[in-house]
């Protein structure tokens, strides 16, 4: 309590002080607007950046002097979040309204032209359309596989059996691995010459097996790797629901001579429903962004390009930076719309039930 009493009063708006954040914001805004209008773009960029840093510094000094230690402690996290996430997000949004290529010096404002181009011409191109349908295919297949396998694993691990704790750690490991490690592991696994899969098929009397030689095989390989990696995540969520079911409900059901499916749907399922829907949401969003495993396993060959991989290609490899940004924002829009639709339906159903 004493520290609050000792903290100095907030400085007057007009006094120049390191903790006068109101003045800092005002000055920062004025200087930024002037710099953007007068100076060339690459100089204005640094001026605006310096102003943002000044405002941030005034916040920090103010928090220190007023003893807002909570704010002070989260400030590094906020700074990192801003620099690494929010700034690039806004920056790329800005870029999507310009004609810009990262390997050229010119930059030209084109308004909504990029979006217009994407939504009219590019979408008609069979290549981009194929990328979209591939993405949808992966979303449906990987999410279905993960939900089923994850759910079954959770049912298994909800029971008590010897070595359960150690097996649980083992089953959770794929989720903690780097995607690159998983991709490399599976590319060895699927390798036609040395891969385990091909070897096993040879041992059973078959010939050398090239999984990636057909689209079905390639998709199956990617879906399997993705399901292997992310089923434990679904399992973890469902398991949390399963263990939260009070034991006495099962005992009551036993006394009431109810078991099997009816017991599952009336007692167990209501406890895991919310978590299943959460898992579905998370995994669907992730699956929409699938690119890493495709890059590692097929490099988009055999018609396995996804839309995210396409974005990486046009933005990084073809240097069409602003088009990539525009396409990213279209995808973000789709995901946001779908997510909100899903949440809306989910909420309405849980309220109606």
């Amino acid at each position: 309590m004493t520290s609050v009493a000792l903290s100095p009063p907030a400085p007057d708006f007009k006094t120049i002080a390191p903790d006068n954040w109101k003045l800092a914001i005002a000055v920062g805004l004025v200087v930024s607007v002037l710099a953007t209008l007068i100076l060339p773009a690459n100089a204005a960029f640094w001026v605006v950046g310096a102003m943002a840093a000044m405002v941030a510094a005034s916040f920090v000094v103010n928090a220190y002097r007023r003893h807002y230690y909570g704010g002070l402690l989260v400030s590094p996290a906020i700074a990192v979040l801003f620099v690494m996430n929010i700034f690039p997000l806004l920056w790329s949004l800005g870029l999507s309204f310009f004609a810009y290529q990262s390997n050229q010096q010119t930059i030209r404002f084109v308004g909504l032209r990029n979006y217009q181009q994407l939504l009219t011409n590019d979408l008609k191109a069979p290549e981009l359309w194929a990328n979209l349908t591939n993405t949808a295919l992966f979303v449906v297949l990987t999410v279905t596989a993960q939900m089923i396998v994850g759910f079954l694993l959770a049912v298994l691990f909800a029971k008590q059996f010897p070595l359960r704790k150690y097996l649980l750690i083992l089953v959770l490991t794929p989720m903690m691995l780097s995607v690159v490690a998983v991709g490399v592991f599976f590319s060895y696994y699927y390798d036609p010459t040395f891969g385990l899969l091909s070897q096993v098929i040879k041992a059973w009397g078959g010939e050398q097996f090239i999984l990636m030689s057909s689209k079905t095989g390639a998709v199956a390989g990617i879906v399997f790797a993705d399901a292997w990696m992310w089923s434990p995540f679904v399992m973890l969520l469902v398991l949390a629901g399963l263990v939260s079911v009070p034991k006495y409900l099962y005992e009551a059901a036993a006394i009431d001579r109810v078991s099997g499916w009816r017991r599952f749907w009336t007692i167990t399922f209501p406890y895991i429903r919310g978590l299943l829907m959460l898992a579905l949401l998370f995994r669907t969003i992730e699956a929409f962004k699938m690119a890493d495993l495709v890059i590692l396993l097929t490099k988009g060959g055999n018609d396995t390009m996804t839309i995210s991989y396409h974005v990486i290609r046009i933005a990084n490899e073809q240097n069409k930076t602003s088009e990539g940004a525009a396409l990213s924002y279209l995808l973000l829009f789709v995901v946001i719309v779908l997510t909100n639709l899903y949440l809306y339906i989910a909420n309405r159903r849980s309220q109606g039930a």
Binding site: L249, E251, I255, V258, T266, P270
Partner: protein, 364 residues
Amino acid sequence: MASSNNKPPAVSLDNVSKAYGRVRALKNLSFSVGEGQFFALFGPSSVGKTTTLRMISGLVIPDEGRVALHGADVTHAPIKSRGVSMVFQSFALYPHLTVYENFAYPLREAKVGSAEIDKRVKETASMLKLGHRLERKPNTLSGGEQQRVALGRSLIRRPNILLLDEPLTNLDAKLRHDMRAELKRLHRQFGMTIIYATPDELEALSMGEEIAVMRDGAVVQKGTPDELYERPIDTYVAAKIGAPHINLLQATVAENGQSLKTGFGSFALGRKLGAKAGDKVFMGVRPADLEIASPQSADLSAPVQLLEPLGDVTVVSLGEKSDNLRIVLPESRASEIKLGDRLPIKIDTHKIHVFSAADGLALR
């Protein structure tokens, strides 16, 4: 109490033991319950009442011993085959089902037609005055209503044997009183065997036709309320049964087992104890067996230490040191008494209980 007919008992437990890890919940527990009896299982919490009920229902399999229902050994029989229903202390209502579905649940897999289910649910609901709550979820009901749903759910199947695990513990005093009457009425109506576990002596005495008093996972004494009250087997049962509690005074046997010497004086017993003079014993006398007498006919006199008014009666504690003697007086008498007054007391010597100080067992 010996069963008058020769039908096998509805429930009989024979030398049953059960341990959870190192904790021995039940130790050689034996008792039997007659067909159609309202039987109370009485004892403080964690004495093994719940484990006993769970064993009868089949939720727990005993480590040793034998459980029989209607004369048939069911020790290892599945729950389904037992025809036993149970009301849990926590009610264990299905939170995501409506009251209607909670009632209907035990019938769903019993191949009962939906018209019959509907009829039975409505019957049960109106019997328990829950007709207007059928579409609600359990967590929107009051404690008393939840309790009645739990009861209805176990009654709807018309079980032969109904186990009630402290069903009234989670209710307030007024509701408890109403539900006691309700349970009695249901028992008369359906005539099933009821085993009722309770830590409340008033519930046990008022509801049980027979009572088993439990201690440390075993039955100490079984009998009708009167038997337990009149002839407690040891100090534990004597202290548990009867309110206010029995007075237990340290005493020494004198005159060749014919009288007792206590801090309040000597008392002739009018009978001969199977104990030597000088043996340490407890003298037990119920507050109701003490009365205020004229100073000439009094057996003892002692100063008033404490007055506890309970409405129409007052519990008066007499004594000077740690030894004290409680006596129950009607409010009209008690209002004349002040702390420190010496009261002349007469004891009904036929009703004095004597217990060995060594093991607490009654000496007769």
